[in-house]
C-alpha cells in the first residue's frame, strides 16, 4: 500500500475520514430500522391504533398481495407512464415557449405579467376543470402533470436564455450570424445546464401533478390506490401505495441524474 509513505498523522486523518463516513451510513440505517421497528412494536402492543396507523408487517403483506394478485405492476405502470408523458410534454412545450419568448422581446414583455400570475396560481386548483373538460381519463391526469411543470420550465429557461453572455452572442454576430444561428449556436448550447436544472425540478412536479390527477380522475395508478384505500379504510393499502410512490420518485430522480451525467460527459 502507498500508505506506508504517508506520515502517521496523515494515516490517522485518512482513517478518521473513513470512520466518519461509515458512522454516517450506520446511523442512517439505524434511523430507518428504528422508525419501522418502533412503528411495528407500537402497533403490536396497542400503543397506537393499527387500524388507523397500519403497521409495517401488514403493509408488507398488502404489497405482496398487490404484487401476486396481479395489479401492482399495472398501477405502477400507469403512474410512471403518466408522469413520464407529462414530464416530457411539459418540458418540451415549456422550452419551445421559452424560445418563442426569447425570439420576440415584444411578446415576452406583453406576456410577462400573465406568466407571473399563472406561476403563482396553485395548478392543483385547476384539477376539477380538467376533469370537466377532458373527463375522468388519462388525458385529464396528463393535463394536470403538464400544467404543473410547464410554467416553471418557461420561466427557468427564459431566464437562462437571457443570462447567456452577450459577448458570446456578439462574437457569432461578427461572423454574420442570423437570429436562428445565434439561437442554435450559442443560446441553446449555453443553456444546457439550465435545461438540466429544469428537468430535475420537473420530474418531481410532474409526479405531484400525476398523483393529484389520479386522485381526481382515475381508475388506476398509485394516486387512485391511495384514494381508494382511504375510502375503504384499508390503511395498509394506503401506506403501501405511499411507500411505492417513494420508490418511484427516487427512481425517476436518479433517471434524470443519469441523463445529466450522460449530457455532461457528452459535452466535456
Amino acid at each position: 500500500m502507498r500508505e506506508s509513505t504517508h506520515s502517521v498523522e496523515h494515516v490517522k486523518y485518512l482513517r478518521s475520514l473513513r470512520q466518519n463516513a461509515v458512522l454516517v451510513r450506520v446511523t442512517q440505517l439505524l434511523l430507518l430500522v428504528g422508525f419501522f421497528g418502533l412503528w411495528e412494536i407500537s402497533a403490536r402492543y396497542g400503543w397506537i391504533n393499527a387500524f388507523i396507523f397500519s403497521q409495517p408487517s401488514k403493509i408488507w403483506v398488502a404489497t405482496v398481495r398487490l404484487a401476486t394478485e396481479g395489479n401492482l405492476w399495472m398501477h405502477l405502470g400507469w403512474t410512471v407512464g403518466e408522469t413520464v408523458l407529462g414530464f416530457t410534454v411539459g418540458t418540451l412545450a415549456g422550452i419551445i415557449l421559452a424560445i418563442m419568448l426569447w425570439w420576440s422581446k415584444f411578446f415576452s414583455k406583453v406576456l410577462d405579467p400573465y406568466i407571473v400570475v399563472l406561476n403563482s396560481v396553485p395548478k392543483v386548483a385547476l384539477g376539477p376543470i380538467f376533469v370537466v373538460w377532458l373527463g375522468t381519463t388519462i388525458t385529464a391526469v396528463i393535463a394536470m402533470a403538464i400544467s404543473i411543470s410547464i410554467i416553471v420550465t418557461i420561466m427557468m429557461m427564459h431566464t437562462g436564455f437571457q443570462e447567456v453572455d452577450p459577448n458570446q452572442i456578439k462574437l457569432v454576430r461578427t461572423f454574420g450570424a442570423s437570429k436562428g444561428q445565434v439561437l442554435r449556436k450559442v443560446v441553446i448550447p449555453a443553456s444546457v445546464p439550465t435545461m438540466i436544472a429544469a428537468l430535475k425540478v420537473n420530474v418531481g412536479l410532474s409526479l405531484v401533478g400525476t398523483i393529484v390527477g389520479e386522485f381526481l380522475a382515475s381508475k388506476a395508478g398509485l394516486g387512485y390506490l391511495i384514494v381508494y384505500g382511504g375510502q375503504v379504510f384499508n390503511m395498509s393499502l394506503v401506506m403501501a401505495s405511499v411507500l411505492l410512490l417513494l420508490v418511484v420518485s427516487v427512481i425517476l430522480y436518479y433517471a434524470v441524474n443519469f441523463l445529466e451525467d450522460r449530457a455532461v460527459h457528452g459535452g466535456s
Binding site: 453572455d165 459577448n167 458570446q168 456578439k170 462574437l171 457569432v172 454576430r173 461578427t174 461572423f175 454574420g176 450570424a177 444561428q181 449556436k185 450559442v186 448550447p189 449555453a190 444546457v192 459535452g267 466535456s268
Partner: protein
C-alpha cells in the same frame, strides 16, 4: 490603396435619458497591410469605432467603407477579436476554430483541412479534440485568432485582445499574434489602453479625444517599418520618444 475608409463619421447613442454623441467628424483611411493602433481614454468610442467597421453598428452620419464598398450589416468579411477569447466550452478546439465557417456556411472539407493545418502550424496540433478549459490562456487566444482567420477576412479588428492575459503572457502572445498577422499580410486595426503595446505593434498610432470621440493626432511609427517584432521594437532607443509624446497627449485630456 485604402482598405478601410471612414468619412465624416458620427455616431449617436440613444438612451431614455437622452442622446449621446459617441463619435464625431471622424475621418480615417487605412492602407492595405497596415497595422493601426487606436489609443484613447475609456469611453472615447474606440470600441464603437470597431463596431462601425465590422457592421455591428451603423453610423448616424457619414460613410464607412471596407474594400471600397459601404459596410452594410455584419458580413463576416471583417474579422473581429474581442477582449476575451470567448471560446465555447461545449465545443472542442477544432469545432471552436470552425465556428465562423459554420455560420457562414463555408465549412467545406478543404476549409476544415486548412483550419487543421493552421492549428498544427501554430502549436495546437495535438489539441483538436480538447476542450477550452484544458488549454492555457495563451493557447486559447491562439485558437480565437485561428477562428477569426479561418473565414479569411481582409481586415482584422482587435479589441484589446490581450487584456485578459497576465503581463508575461501578454508580451509573448502579442509577439506571436503580430508574427502570424504579418505572415498572412492582414490589415489590422487594434484598440488598446496600453501605449507601449500600441507603439510596439503598429505602423501608425491614432490618438482619440475624449467623448465625443474624434481623431486628435496620428503618430507614424517609423521603427516598426523595419520588420522588428514588438519586443525588438520596444528596445529601439526612439521607442521612448513615441511613448512620451503619446502619453503626454493622452494626459492633457485627463
Amino acid at each position: 490603396m485604402a482598405i478601410v475608409e471612414l468619412k465624416d463619421v458620427q455616431l449617436n447613442y440613444h438612451t431614455k435619458n437622452g442622446e449621446i454623441v459617441a463619435l464625431q467628424d471622424l475621418n480615417l483611411t487605412i492602407k492595405d497591410q497596415e497595422f493601426v493602433s487606436i489609443v484613447g481614454q475609456s469611453g472615447c468610442g474606440k470600441s464603437t469605432l470597431l463596431s462601425l467597421i465590422s457592421g455591428l453598428l451603423k453610423p448616424t452620419k457619414g460613410e464607412v467603407k471596407v474594400n471600397g464598398l459601404p459596410v452594410d450589416g455584419t458580413t463576416g468579411r471583417v474579422g473581429y477579436m474581442l477582449q476575451q477569447d470567448y471560446l465555447f466550452e461545449w465545443r472542442t478546439i477544432l469545432d471552436n476554430a470552425l465556428l465562423g465557417l459554420e455560420i457562414r456556411g463555408e465549412k467545406t472539407a478543404e476549409a476544415v483541412d486548412e483550419v487543421r493545418e493552421m492549428l498544427k502550424v501554430y502549436g495546437l496540433g495535438g489539441f483538436e479534440k480538447y476542450y477550452p478549459s484544458q488549454l492555457s490562456g495563451g493557447m486559447r487566444q491562439r485558437v480565437a485568432l485561428i477562428r477569426t482567420l479561418a473565414t479569411k477576412p481582409h481586415v482584422l479588428l482587435l479589441d484589446e485582445p490581450f487584456s485578459a492575459l497576465d503581463y508575461q503572457n501578454r508580451l509573448s502572445v502579442g509577439e506571436e499574434v503580430v508574427r502570424i498577422l504579418r505572415e498572412r499580410k492582414k490589415t489590422v486595426i487594434m484598440v488598446t489602453h496600453d501605449i507601449a503595446e500600441a507603439i510596439s505593434m503598429a505602423n501608425r498610432v491614432v490618438v482619440m479625444t475624449p467623448r465625443p470621440g474624434t481623431i486628435q493626432s496620428i503618430h507614424r511609427i517609423e521603427i516598426t517599418d523595419q520588420g522588428l517584432t514588438p519586443i525588438q521594437t520596444r528596445e529601439v532607443p526612439t521607442f521612448r520618444e513615441y511613448f512620451t509624446a503619446i502619453w503626454k497627449e493622452l494626459n492633457v485630456n485627463a
